[in-house]
Structures are given as C-alpha cells and as structure tokens.
C-alpha cells in the first residue's frame, strides 16, 4: 500500500513539473514579456533594467525554478489585459465556478444513481426504455446546444428563469455566494442542469450496467432464494457492490465538470474562472492562461490521485494483488 501510494505520488509530482514547464514556456516564449509590460515609449536602459528584474538573462533552469517558486506561493504575475495580479482575479472568480460545479455534481450524482437504479430494476418497463433512449440523444447533443435549448425554453418562451449571470450574490468578504438569495438560486438552475446533464447520463448508464451485472450474480439469486425482500436485495445487496466503479467515475468526472464549466459559463455568461479563461484565449492573455492551466492540472492530478488511492482502499481485491509492489 505504502509503496504504491508513494509511487503514485511521485508520478503526480512529475506530471505537475511537466505542466509547470509548459506553463513557464508559454510565459517565456509566447509573446515578449518586455513588450507586454513596457509600452511603446521605452529606453534601452528601461529594457535592461526590466530584463534584470524579471531575471530574463538567467539560465533557463534558474528561471524555471523561480517561476515554480512564485507559482507555489500563488504569484502568477500580472494579467496583460486587466493589469491586476492574476491570483487576485482568479480568487474573485473562483466562487462562481465552484458553486456551479458543486450544484451540477450533486445534481448529476443524485439523478444519475436514482435513474440508474430505476432503469436497472425496471429493465423492460416503458419508462426505463424511454429514459435510456432520451439519454442516448443527450449524449450526442453538444453541451452548448443543450444550454441554448434550455435558455430558449425557460427564458425566452416561458420567461421563468434568468438566461445569464449569477443573479444577486452575497459578499462574504473572501467568498461571494449565490446560495443566499432567491435570484441567485434561480440563476443556478439552468447552468447546473446544462453542465450536469452529460455527467448524469454517464453515471446513470454506469449504475445501470453495473446493477444489471450484479443482479445476475449468484449471491443475489441466493438472497432471493432465502426469501429476503426485493427492496432489501436491490439496495442492501446489489447497490452496495455497484458503488466502487461509480465512485471512481464520479470522482474523475469532477475534474471534467470544472473543465466543461468553460462552455456552460460562456453560454450563460456566468462570471466564473472558465469565462475568464476563454476571454484570456481570445485576447492572448498569457499569464491568465498559464495560471489556469496550472490550477486545473493541480486539481486533475489531485483528483486522479485521490480516486486511485480510494479505489485501493475500497476494493480489497486490489490490495491483495498489489501489496507485493506490483
């Protein structure tokens, strides 16, 4: 267990170093930092001074080390476009994205598991078949079209829900929340459905196929033969054993939710980190792009690591196989 964990930790560390190298190269080689920071009116001595200050004359590896050192402390430099510290801008935008991701993940997980169980137990029912067919269309629809469709239905035609923004938010100083106001909650509904729908179908299909697999197993037949009530068989015996892959996939999807939030945030003009990133690409705001890349990689790597270790902890079979050091 320990050897495996250490090796996974080391791998994650290497991945982060490589991503850091990519981010650093973006800083260093895409566009000229001097050009971006100094305006048209500059003297040779200004350039020399700035080169010295930024350490642009140091060897590559020293610059890279300095960059990593600053990044670890949360210093990603100034945004070219807004001329403010990138860390400050991201901290300001992060609550919006995290709240959206949280609500969509909850939505996806709850409905995914419930519908998955339902379609597995009522395998041949009409409702179950209808849900499965609709989910197939849902998978082939691009996220942004789902968002537009929802806006058209609920904002344009019915006028029930807002089509853009977060509504009224309450500022807690270090965090802005939309959970506290009615308009904030209403504004969350459409974006979180848009963002969570794909993950929901994924979880639903996974739960369904795992359930069907487990329901065929001998111990379920035996449980039935012992006269245990259907409900108890389904939920106590079957569901429990389907949860391992579900946890893994859901965990891994958490990262995708944050990444796909980019699309949802653009459709709904949601003032989060994803929209910031898209604007950064449009205006070639390299520091913001690099910072986003670093942050999201740390998140992805951490999620992967946790899921792997969790998997290991949950499934005793893996432990037996790998304890010898794989």
């Amino acid at each position: 267990m320990l050897a495996y964990s250490l090796r996974r930790l080391f791998q994650s560390f290497i991945v982060l170093l490589v991503v850091g190298l990519v981010a650093f190269s973006m800083f260093r080689f895409v566009g000229d930092p001097i050009d971006s920071l100094l305006g048209q009116e500059r003297t040779q001595s200004d350039i020399e001074r700035l080169r010295g200050e930024l350490g642009l004359d140091d060897p590559f590896i020293v610059q890279y080390g300095a960059f990593l050192g600053r990044a670890v402390q949360g210093d990603f430099g100034l945004s070219y476009r807004q001329a403010r510290p990138v860390a400050e801008i991201i901290a300001e935008r992060a609550p919006a994205t995290l709240e959206l991701a949280l609500v969509s993940a909850g939505f996806a997980m709850f409905f995914g598991v419930v519908l998955g169980i339902f379609t597995a137990i009522r395998r041949d029912g009409f409702a179950a078949n209808a849900i499965m067919s609709v989910s197939l269309i849902g998978v082939s629809l691009p996220t942004f079209l789902i968002g537009i469709l929802l806006i058209y239905l609920f904002s344009v035609e019915l006028g029930w829900l807002p089509s853009f923004g977060r509504g009224d938010v309450v500022d807690l100083g270090w965090w802005t929340t939309g959970f506290a106001t009615g308009s904030g909650l209403k504004a969350l509904i459409l974006p979180s459905i848009t963002l969570g729908l794909y993950q929901m179908t994924l979880i639903m299909r996974l739960v369904r196929s795992e359930m069907l697999e487990v329901l065929r197993a001998d111990y379920i037949r035996f449980a039935r033969a012992r006269g245990i009530r259907e409900k108890s068989v389904n939920f106590r015996h079957a569901l429990k054993n389907t949860l391992v892959p579900v946890i893994t996939v859901t965990g891994l999807q958490l990262g995708s939710i944050i990444a796909f939030a980019i699309i949802t945030e653009t459709v709904f003009q949601w003032p989060g980190v994803g929209l910031l990133f898209i604007n950064a690409i449009q205006f070639v705001d390299i520091p913001v792009m690099a910072a986003y890349l670093m942050l999201i990689s740390v998140m992805f790597v951490a999620i992967n690591l946790i899921v792997d270790l969790l998997y290991f902890a949950i499934d005793p079979r893996l432990r037996a196989d790998r304890s010898g050091g794989h």
Partner: protein, 314 residues
C-alpha cells in the same frame, strides 16, 4: 434487399465486394444506410457548396441590407425576395451560409482526424515496435495527456498558437491552427490502440519471416504490420470524426475557433444565439439542426462500423 443483387454473372471486384460480408451487414442495417446517406449528402453538399448555394454569402456585392431578417419561406417585406431558410441581419441567405459552414466544419473535422490518425499510428507503431525508452516516453506523454479532457487541450493549444502567430495572420491561420489543435488533442486514442495491436502482431510468424528475409524495420511496420491493425483504427477514426466535428463547433461557438470571416457551423450558432431573444429563431435553429444531424449520423455510423468489423459481437 438481398434479392435485388444481380445474379453472379461476370464478377468484377465491386460485385464481389457487394456480395461480401461487410456489404451484407450494411444492407441489413437501416440505421447504417440512413446515416451513411445523410453523411454522404452532407459531404456532397459541402464539396459542391459554391454550385448549390443560391447566393454567395461572402461576396459583399450580392448582399442587400434590405433583405435582412427575412423569415423562412416568406417574401421579404421590402424586396419581395424569398429565402428558403431566411436571412441574417446582413441579409445573408441562411441556407447558403450553412452550406459554406458545413464545408468548413467537415474540412476541419476530417483534417484534424487525419492529422491525429497519422500522428497516432506513427507513434503507436514506433512505440510498440521499437520498445524500450522510446515506448516509455511516448506512452507516458499519452497518459499525461489523457488525464485532461481533449477539448481543454485543444483550447490551450489554440491559445498558445494564437499567441505565436502575428496579429495580421491570425484570422487566415485560424482554420489551420484549429486543425492542429484538435488533431493534437486526439492522437492518444490512435496511438494506444495501434500500440496494443502491434504488440500482438509483432511476434507473429509472418513478421518474423519478413525480418528473416531482411526487410527493414520501416518496411515491416508499414507494409506488414500496419494493414493488420487498421480495422480498429477505422472505427476509432469514425467516432473521432464525430467528436472532432463537435469539438470544432464548440471551440468556434466559444469564439476561439473559426473566425466570422470563415464561419463554421459553430460560428453560425454563436452568431445566431445573439438573435434568440429578438425572435429571429431561424438564424440559430437551422445551423444547430445541421450540426446535430451531422454529429448524430457520423456517431451512428461509427457504432455500426464497430459492430460490423467485430464479428465477435454479432
């Protein structure tokens, strides 16, 4: 359907193929035939767009601002002209812009998959055949890239490439940058499958025989192993095409893809979204339906192909 095949008189290669297992599978599946027809119609429409399109949407001289916002199938209030699918704010015929948009969407999708395929097959073959540290490096990179969603990788590559290209070339280069970005985000699938298949193939007798008669590594990889690992590649390529088309549309919709001067379906949807609230639904709806039909058809075709090429599943 099977009754209509001609009696086996002079059997050309085509007739032989038509009687073959693959074609038989195809004729038996209505889903495959319909989706294949849809894809083919769209490809033809894209290729012959300049001939089919009633108007040239990129010729400013042919545009009449008075024609702006014409509803579909209704004569315009000012000019009396009728447009099948209506016009946008500039008076551009929506049907024509869709044809040209389809052209760009299909071109970018196909080129990106082609690029990913060449890159993935090469790296996969080399990794499996050469082995050692070359294999380790290639597959490690693949693993790391697989950790991130493809669309995110494509966005980053697009962003960096945009930063590198000089401002005055950005619009012209956007299409090519898009192809490279989507292609680079998608090669891993191909590399993994080809590597897996090659690892199996490279120890078989025919490869040993080829090595024995002194053929070079390159020739063995290309002429002997490659043809035997191609059928899973074909399946992945079809499914990748659907994904690439959607990825392109998504990027263009987000404003980090095809520029308004060369609009793809995604760009058209982005433009159309702006008119959703003012009631001009057709500017959005028709490009969106085209994209959906295309993606769905390619997806279904890929699904069918996967089953047809894998006899174990039947």
């Amino acid at each position: 359907m099977a009754d209509t095949t001609p009696a086996p008189k002079p059997r050309g290669r085509l007739a032989h193929w038509w009687d073959g297992d693959f074609a038989y599978q195809f004729r038996r599946s209505p889903v495959a035939m319909i989706s294949f027809t849809v894809v083919m119609l769209m490809v033809l429409a894209a290729i012959f767009a300049p001939l089919i399109a009633p108007y040239d949407p990129f010729d400013p001289a042919s545009l009449n601002l008075m024609n702006g916002f014409s509803s579909p199938m209704e004569p315009n209030a000012f000019t009396g002209e009728t447009f099948w699918l209506g016009t946008d704010d500039q008076g551009r015929d929506v049907f024509s812009t869709i044809l040209y948009g389809l052209r760009i969407s299909l071109f970018v999708g196909a080129a990106a998959v082609g690029f990913a395929m060449v890159l993935g097959i090469t790296l996969g073959l080399v990794a499996a055949y050469v082995g050692g540290w070359v294999e380790t490096i290639i597959m490690r990179i693949a693993d790391v890239q697989l950790t991130f969603p493809a669309i995110l990788v494509a966005m980053l590559i697009f962003g960096v490439a945009k930063g590198i290209t000089p401002v005055e070339y950005r619009d012209q280069m956007a299409i090519w940058v898009l192809i490279v970005a989507i292609g680079l985000s998608d090669w891993v699938q191909f590399a993994r499958v080809v590597r897996g298949a090659t690892l199996v193939e490279k120890n078989k007798e025919y490869v040993q025989a080829a090595r024995l008669i002194g053929r070079g590594s390159g020739a063995i990889m290309l002429r002997h192993i490659l043809p035997n690992v191609l059928s899973p590649v074909l399946v992945i390529a079809t499914i990748s095409l659907a994904l690439a088309i959607i990825a392109e549309a998504t990027l263009s919709f987000l404003g980090v893809g095809a520029p308004p001067t060369q609009p793809s379906l995604g760009t058209l949807i982005r433009i159309g979204q702006g008119f959703l609230f003012s009631g001009e639904w057709w500017i959005l709806l028709f490009p969106a339906c085209t994209l959906l039909a295309l993606a769905l058809a390619v997806n279904l075709l890929g699904d069918w192909l996967r089953d047809a090429l894998n006899p174990k599943l039947r």
